[in-house]
Symmetry: C2
Subunit: 242 residues, 2 copies
């Protein structure tokens, strides 16, 4: 039994608004959702808060999404894409396998991935994975995609470097490297103040080189100019401020 918004007669001024296109408005709402989760946590990401952040009123959300959950799923999809697209593009880019592997590692340390916001978002969504099959599917899809991309890349790399005997161990190398890179990402986003700028990136390069049995600097020193000059200092600037 709906009630009239105001009893009668009174003329109230409504706020003016912009009539946006569907894709534009959806993207705004998704961005606002991610903003709110990162800033206030999953608890603070309420429909009203998200709407306020997007500069609209709450009711509008249901014009673009069937429910709040559906909007959250769309936001999760976008966030995961932002996390993995750079690495996957690097793996499938042009150049030698060695160069692509270097770019793959670099992608894990790009500003958008290392952003502390990302950990908050990632953790907030993890809780949904175990209970909501849709979230589980989105996660699994992205995870296997990046595993596959890296494994194919490593296969190319070993063939390129005349080490065919390592091809059989590609999967193990893939899991180990993924673990290492993910773990360093955790440390970077979770305790960023404990590490110097570029320290973890340099460590990632050296550790991957060691795990793959390469000489130090083999990966980080690129022959083309796409990376700019960021050589790894051979000396160790020991940093301890626990």
């Amino acid at each position: 039994m709906p009630h009239p918004p105001h009893s009668s007669g009174e003329k109230l001024s409504r706020r003016t608004f912009h009539r946006a296109s569907e894709t534009e408005r959806r993207e705004d709402l998704i961005a606002a959702t991610l903003d709110c989760i990162a800033e206030f946590g999953i608890q603070g990401a309420t429909v009203r808060q998200i709407a306020a952040r997007a500069g609209v009123t709450g009711g509008l959300i249901r014009h673009y999404f069937d429910s709040k959950d559906q909007m959250m799923q769309a936001a999760y999809r976008e966030m995961m894409a932002a996390m993995t697209s750079g690495s996957i593009e690097a793996a499938n880019s042009a150049g030698t396998a060695k160069q692509r592997l270097g770019r793959f590692i670099d992608a894990n340390h790009s500003a958008s991935v290392t952003d502390p916001r990302m950990l908050s978002l990632w953790a907030a969504f993890i809780g949904h994975i175990r209970h909501d099959p849709t979230f589980a599917a989105i996660h699994r899809e992205n995870y296997t995609a990046i595993l596959t991309a890296l494994e194919n890349l490593l296969r190319d790399f070993f063939i390129e470097n005349n080490r065919p005997e390592e091809v059989a161990r590609c999967h193990h190398h893939t899991v180990a490297l993924t673990g290492l890179l993910d773990g360093l990402w955790l440390e970077a986003t979770l305790a960023d103040d404990l590490f110097a700028e570029g320290e973890l990136q340099a460590l990632a390069f050296r550790s991957v080189e060691t795990l793959l049995g390469l000489k130090s600097g083999d990966l980080s020193v690129q022959t083309d100019d796409t990376q700019g000059a960021d050589g790894i200092p051979p000396a160790d600037p020991l940093k301890k401020d626990i």
Copy 2:
């Protein structure tokens, strides 16, 4: 203006209850809190739900904790202790540094740590770290404790193995190993169905050996009997079910 629980006369049977000691009841409530977070997510961990899980009624919670937040903090403290205590005890245990390092790695793959519940709990609390200084302090405390324990262990290890030149790089090794182990923990708890029993543990041993420049099997083959016989098969049972 309080009302009497029931108007008059009627004799209602109350549920019998157990009069627990303060510490016992607090532990029950903390365990119930963790159960609810792991099972229903941080959203479903309401005061009423937690009380039901603990087998008490809601009002009792405020007899033991000043607020729900304080109970959550206590739960986080207990959860983090469960995660790190095994590793730290291993690092500080008796035996050679090599043995202790092996136990340290093993601790990361104990059933209680690998339990998928742990990831849900860990992720649920991460969201609080950035906003609540108390949670941030608890996290930082545990993180630095395990970093310190591992770094000291590695120092002992390099000295024990007559490699004093590596002592200067202990911190780097510590961060790399922590990243690797944390990352493999992530993969184990997040996509446990993709890996065979013990596969990630064996991978952890081999990767650590490689990162530290040891021969394959150096760490996993223990001279004492505390570990039981779990030799790492030299052949690679390649597993691919993506």
